[in-house]
């Protein structure tokens, strides 16, 4: 093994990337865990907002619909980086004002919570559109049947709407999840130590830029490819009752 690495000229890279302290592999993996944690949280938070937003856009009153249209348009037109900064400052200001009003000291917001809040609001706008489209794609008869049998709205949501729309929503949601994992890199700019920032620190202190950035790229790519297979499975499972949509789908 050592000889092979030596002949390929990779011995140095391997020692830099090793998991023990002289190498930086442990830092990279810790960054990856942080990134995934935030991506998962933001994706879940975004799904909740998206479900509410989709319901509001489909069944809400005219004012609510206008407000949601403004929300999704603004979020989709302004760069994530700018939104992250605005939401980060607004969020910490609001929490600190609430804390001082209730007589507590100023609180330091943890990076994970801030990241989830910020990326979740961004994801929510995209999720609203994805889920709205998916709910609209459900044959209306299914929802009418549920209502005709007197199902309460929440039960309809749980038993009919969500299972029936899963197949339509999964491709869009898979895309959103990939955007979430890649958007966590933006938190590097506000100084949160996720994978990209850890990589830059490691690269900066060892001057081995290519080694570390390529390694981080490989990690991101692994996550992407792995999620791709998972979502393909989920979609297959969610569509198990439906006729094949290969022809004339979308």
């Amino acid at each position: 093994m050592e000889g092979l690495l030596d002949t390929l000229g990779l011995a140095e890279a391997a020692s830099l990337l090793s998991l023990e302290p002289p190498g930086w592999g442990g830092n990279l993996l810790r960054g990856l865990v942080n990134s995934l944690q935030i991506a998962l949280g933001a994706f879940g938070f975004g799904l909740l907002i998206g479900l509410g937003g989709a319901y509001g856009k489909l069944y809400g009153g005219p004012l609510l619909r206008d407000l949601l249209a403004i929300y999704t348009t603004v979020i989709r037109a302004v760069p994530e980086l700018v939104l992250i900064l605005i939401l980060y400052y607004v969020g910490s200001d609001l929490i600190n004002q609430a804390a001082t009003a209730m007589g507590y000291d100023r609180v330091e917001i943890s990076g994970v919570v801030a990241g989830i809040w910020v990326l979740g609001v961004v994801q929510g706008a995209y999720a609203t559109e994805v889920l709205r489209g998916a709910i609209q794609a459900i044959p209306p008869g299914q929802l009418e049947a549920a209502r005709a049998f007197g199902m309460p709205p929440l039960m309809t949501l749980r038993r009919v709407t969500i299972p029936a729309m899963m197949g339509f929503a999964t491709p869009g949601l898979a895309n959103l999840w990939l955007i979430a994992t890649k958007d966590t890199a933006l938190l590097a700019i506000v100084g949160f130590s996720e994978l990209t920032l850890e990589t830059r620190q490691a690269a900066g202190s060892t001057r081995a830029y290519f080694t570390f950035f390529l390694a981080a790229g490989a990690l991101y790519l692994l996550v992407t490819l792995f999620s791709g297979t998972i979502f393909a499975r989920i979609e297959k499972w969610a569509r198990r009752g439906q006729p094949s949509l290969r022809e004339g789908g979308r």
């Binding site: 989709r76 760069p79 980086l81 400052y89 950035f213």
Partner: protein, 261 residues
Amino acid sequence: MSDLRALLIPRRLFLMALFAGFVIWCALSLRWDWLPQYLPLAIEGLWRTIWILVVTVVLGFMLAVPLGLAQAAGPWYLATPARIFCTIIRGTPLLLQIWLLYYGLGSLFPQYPWIRGSDLWPYLRQAWPYAVLALTLSYAGYEGEVMRGGFASVQKGQLEAARAFGMPRFTIFRRIWLPQAIRNVLPTLGGETILQLKATPLVATITVIEIYAVSSRVRADTFIVYEPLLLLALVYMIIAGLIALMFRWVENRVPSRRREG
């Protein structure tokens, strides 16, 4: 006309009044005294943002056409590299790609004397070539995938008819295949161009002074947080709106049988 009338419903008038109130409140009670001092820099930054956007979109699209064609109809030795390129670009964060090119290539080039001695060196020492390269490759990667779908969606009969009339292969591509592929993907391209606009602030992290970097500098110099960011968001919304309008105008000029509603 109907667009205008849709805005004059009471609740929308109410929302607009609310928005106008917000704007007036912003203008009166927030601090804008920094604006005259930074305005020249902001205009320069805005110009640089638009310049980077236009250059990378044009160059990226020119790269995307062969990438899409290779994937849609090329032999495997062209299709596989093209697919791998698109997967890598789409599977890793743009910020990482920018930093890889800037710090990686930037630390590699000075080691070679012949690069240092070449005429290109004054450019390679600056940040913007790396920014343009990274954004171009990124746009090419995403659009290569879009163009693959565009090329594949052109009906076979069209190409067969052209071939039956004895059109040379390049003429078929230029007159029949490419125009229809582009027409099919125009709506997607508009959205992707707005995404590209939203990617431009990332180049501020490698010291390119575009409009986002200007707002960061205002924040660092004056400790004013919200005002530059709000103005920045407004600027991006206006540019995004202009891009959307431009693409809608192009779409309306392109003859299409499939227009609905």
